[in-house]
């Protein structure tokens, strides 16, 4: 059986498959020395920022199609691609979405923002207790960061869709393989990075999920079971130049096993 290829022997397999183009790419990869400059993909990753202030100009439709096309080739669990998109480029529709989410935040803060009341007051104590119980039940949603944002949205100091000219709603097919919400994160990452490389600014909007409680608006938008709004991505041209320098961020523990040794890196 000498003509059977040993599947374990991938070195051989790679050589067999190599044409000119892949050969060149492999050389480029092997050439990268420690400390080498960022390539274009790395640049896009490092200079992407969440953009929350947009110019009025609408990005051309073909660029939105172009970034969605990059999403189409994202990896997904079992290749199930559990996503679909609603692209909203009508100002009135985006304003209606904004208004609804703001109203939800106002209702929420009325019941849970104890900081609206004097320290020591009875009202404050009552609402604080309410908030703390909710926080216990759902620590991720009542984490101080989203809480601060919800408070600011309610007071009109922070926006939900940031007056973006284009909003892409990412819908998740709840029947997807494994954890379909992870695939939504992956498809969205392709979209925001592609946008960055084309000079478009983006911002993820998790608060877009608030729209789900408005059945009429969902119907109008074209959101229906088994799909749900998972996330949104605002797209437009940013003001200023937020890509002029990468930022500083915390490092994270990396446990590194090699040569029978365990090391902790940051």
């Amino acid at each position: 059986m000498s003509d059977v290829v040993d599947v374990e022997d991938t070195e051989d397999l790679e050589c067999a498959l190599e044409d000119d183009r892949t050969a060149r790419r492999r050389v480029a990869i092997h050439d990268i020395a420690p400390g080498a400059d960022w390539n274009e993909v790395e640049e896009a990753i490092l200079t992407r920022r969440s953009i929350r202030k947009f110019k009025g100009r609408q990005p051309p439709a073909h660029l939105i199609r172009r970034i969605l096309e990059m999403g189409r080739f994202a990896p997904s669990q079992g290749n199930c691609q559990p996503w679909s998109f609603v692209v909203v480029r009508d100002r009135e529709m985006i304003a209606e979405m904004e208004q609804y989410c703001v109203a939800v935040c106002q209702n929420m803060t009325a019941g849970i923002d104890y900081t609206n009341y004097e320290s020591g007051s009875e009202q404050r104590a009552a609402i604080l207790q309410n908030t703390q119980v909710l926080n216990r039940q759902n620590p991720n949603s009542f984490h101080p960061v989203p809480m601060t944002a919800i408070k600011s949205i309610a007071k009109g100091r922070f926006a939900v869709f940031h007056k973006a000219p284009t909003v892409i709603l990412i819908l998740v097919d709840k029947r997807g393989v494994g954890v379909p919400e992870v695939d939504v994160g992956v498809v969205g990452t392709n979209i925001v990075l592609a946008a960055q490389s084309l000079g478009l600014g983006t911002c993820w909007v998790g608060f877009s999920r608030l729209l789900s409680s408005n059945t009429a608006l969902c119907e109008k938008l074209g959101v229906a079971a088994p799909f749900e709004i998972a996330e949104a991505i605002c797209v437009g041209y940013s003001i200023g130049n937020p890509a002029q320098q990468p930022v500083s961020r915390q490092t994270h523990e990396i446990i590194w096993w090699e040569g029978g040794q365990k090391e902790v890196l940051y």
């Binding site: 490092l46 920022r49 944002a149 600011s152 922070f158 200023g240 930022v247 500083s248």
Partner: protein, 113 residues
């Protein structure tokens, strides 16, 4: 306010956290270089927490942190937009009353390995 002058809350297991006491919920902190800041206003416009504001005479505007500030998440969008790199967040938020930060190290710019 810096981490060093805030005594973190000791959190017993049945503790229910509050978010307007810095011992329990300490937000990100930014440093501003007043010599470099030219008052261009960009950072105040892009800051998602809306905690930065301009002050001073018209011909010598500078940026500062609002008195009533909460919500800085150390995203450094202010740093990214500032041509003179006059404003920077270099410490993460720390919500001691909610949970202990684990497995994180200090702030670093992108490192070329």
């Amino acid at each position: 306010m810096t981490a060093s002058n805030v005594e973190k809350a000791v959190v017993p297991p049945d503790h229910l956290a509050i978010w307007d006491d810095p011992r329990e919920a300490l937000y990100g902190r930014v440093t501003i270089d007043l010599e470099t800041c030219d008052g261009c206003k960009l950072c105040t416009v892009v800051c998602p927490a809306n905690i930065l504001e301009l002050y001073g005479p018209k011909d010598n505007l500078k940026v500062r942190i609002k008195e009533d500030f909460t919500g800085c998440m150390s995203c450094n969008n202010c740093y990214a937009i500032c041509a003179g790199q006059a404003v920077i967040a270099s410490e993460p938020y720390d919500f001691a009353g909610y949970y202990e930060q684990k497995r994180i190290g200090k702030f670093e710019f992108p490192r070329k390995f």
